[in-house]
Every structure is written in C-alpha cells, then in structure tokens.
C-alpha cells in the first residue's frame, strides 16, 4: 500500500452494562475515573494526559506500549448530550506519522435498570500503518476495562 492510500471502514460495538446511563456517562466525564479505565492499563506508559470532556474541548495524550514508539491521541468533542450520547473526532499519531482519523459516536440507551452502550467508529485509516480490525479489537478491550471500572466503583460504594 502506498503511503497516501486511505482505507475507510465502520465498526460498531454493543455492550450492556448493569448500571444506569448517568453512571456510565460519569465514567467518561470524571477525569479520575476515565484515567483509570481509558488511559491506564498493564504495559502502557503514560507520558502526558490531558482530559477535557465537554463539547468543543480538546484532549491530548501521549503514551507508549512496553517501551515501543511514542503514540499520540488528539481528540475533540463535537457534540455532548449528558447521559445520552457524545460524538468526537480523534487522530492517532505514531512517532509523528498520522495513522488514522476517526469519528466516534457513543450512544447510551436505557435498557431496564442498565445501559446499552453502542459505539460506532467511522474511520479513515492511513497507509497500512493500522487497520480497522486492530482498532476494533482495541476498543473492545477498552469497553471491558469500563465494565471492570464500573464494578470497582460498585464495590467501593
């Protein structure tokens, strides 16, 4: 694949959490909580992290996986409706080379006493550095980490 080629893909991940939408939303909005499940993780070394979850705001973080290349995430929140949905655009950059630009939609749909969390990513993946399947797998792991975070919060309460 040439350096200039772009692959477009869409994937959707649905997961049920046994917590109301307000609790799931708070796990994104509260920087302490989100840092635990979204940023930290075994093998991840965080070099900088600035969380800013509100409409129109940007977030930037840099990190490495087990001493690997420097990865940067630049995110901007385009639409935030409390406890219901949010839409953001984000770029992933490895050692200064952009690997993707994506649009992410999170919908929090009440279901019984819990929440159906629906994530849709529409991405432009560049030049063979990355692909949608890897990204989807990475996101699935994040939503498992969110499940553990919510369970931890319940135990701590």
């Amino acid at each position: 694949m040439s350096e200039r080629s772009v692959t477009h893909a869409t994937f959707r991940i649905e997961r049920f959490y046994d917590f109301p939408p307000a609790t799931v939303f708070a796990a994104y909005a509260d920087p302490t909580s989100r840092r635990r499940w979204f940023v930290e993780g075994e093998g991840w070394e965080i070099e900088s992290c600035e969380l800013n979850f509100r409409e129109g705001a940007s977030e930037h973080s840099t990190f490495r996986f087990r001493g690997g290349p420097l990865i940067r995430n630049d995110t901007i929140y385009l639409d935030v409706v409390e406890n219901q949905r949010f839409i953001f655009a984000y770029a992933m950059v490895i050692e200064g080379s952009r690997i993707s630009t994506s649009l992410g939609t999170v919908e929090l749909i009440p279901e019984g006493k819990g929440t159906r969390h629906v994530y849709t990513e529409q991405g432009a993946y560049l030049g063979g550095f990355d692909n949608a399947a890897q990204r989807e797998e990475g996101c699935r792991q994040l939503y498992e980490a969110l499940a553990r975070e919510l369970e931890q919060q319940r135990k701590a309460a």
């Binding site: 200039r4 772009v6 477009h8 869409t10 959707r12 901007i76 385009l78 639409d79 219901q84 949905r85 839409i87 655009a89 770029a91 952009r98 630009t101 994506s102 649009l103 939609t105 919908e107 749909i109 009440p110 849709t120 529409q122 991405g123 432009a124």
Partner: protein
C-alpha cells in the same frame, strides 16, 4: 431518545486538471462559495475560514434569504495536493442534525485528477441529512467538474486558436 443513523457516501469525479489545481478549489473559500452551492436557489456564506490543520471554517447555508443551517468544518489532516480530512457539524436553530468525517483524496492520473470524496456520516434520525448530503455533495462536485473541465476546454481552445493564427501569420 433520538437515535443516530450511520452511513458512508462515496463520490468519484474525474477532472481535466492537475491535483494542484483541484486542491486549490477546496483550499480557497471564494472558490468553494462558487462551486459548493448545489443549486442557484441555495446560498452559502462563510463567517470564518482557517484552512490549516486544527483550523475551523464556519458557514451558513440554506435557501437564499433563509440561511438556516450552520456548518462548522474542522481540518484534521491536510497533505497539500493530495488529501484533506475534516469533520463537519451541521446544526439548525441550535439543534444538531449531523456530524461527518469527510476525506477528500486527489489522485493524479497524467494531466488529470481522480477525485474521491468519502463522507462518513452520523445523522440524527429523522433529520434526512443522509439524503441531503448525497444530493448536496453530488451537485456541488458536478459544479466543480463543470468549472474545472470548462476552464480546461477553454484553455485548449485558446491554444488551438493561437496555433491557427500563427500558421496563418
């Protein structure tokens, strides 16, 4: 609760000009105001423009005399003469209608450009923004083709006439 519909629209056009010329038609807001309106009944004005990575364009569009749609376009990735990726938020009276990730690729083919626009849309259900984007982007790109290919044809005509004149002289 309002649901969101996701769709990917892809538009391809072949233009009789270099990627540099076609890229310029996207970079220049004056040019966009010309070819970007899908029909003579539609108006488009820019309130702010900033064509660079991280920059934001704000425009209003809609039927002439009622520019009810507000459009915010943010540039995420710009590779000169090659690629533009931006996100676009469309709202009306303070309500969100759609958000889109728009990739414009300029592929060179000799003296021509193969233009590929991929519009990845997240539209509020009932907003009819998917059909609106399909028709609006399609018509705007047709205008661009007419503008650029018309220019190329008229340049070729000037060259032909001047060559004929030289032969006569």
């Amino acid at each position: 609760m309002t649901a969101i519909a996701h769709e990917t629209l892809r538009f391809e056009r072949r233009l009789d000009a270099s990627p540099r010329r076609v890229f310029a038609a996207f970079a220049d807001p004056e040019a966009r105001m010309r070819w970007g309106v899908p029909s003579p009944r539609v108006g488009l004005v820019y309130l702010a423009t900033d064509f660079r990575v991280g920059g934001l364009d704000v425009s209003r569009c809609g039927p002439k005399g009622d520019l009810k749609f507000q459009v915010e376009n943010r540039y995420h990735d710009i590779v000169e003469d090659s690629r533009i990726i931006s996100s676009e938020i469309v709202g009306c009276d303070g309500s969100l209608l759609s958000v889109a990730l728009i990739t414009v690729e300029f592929r060179t083919d000799g003296d021509r450009t193969d233009l590929v626009v991929t519009d990845q849309l997240a539209a509020i259900e009932g907003s009819e923004m998917i059909e609106g984007a399909r028709a609006g982007m399609g018509a705007a790109l047709d205008n661009l083709v007419r503008e650029i290919n018309g220019e190329a044809a008229s340049n070729a005509e000037v060259v032909r006439r001047s060559a004929a004149k030289n032969r006569e002289g």
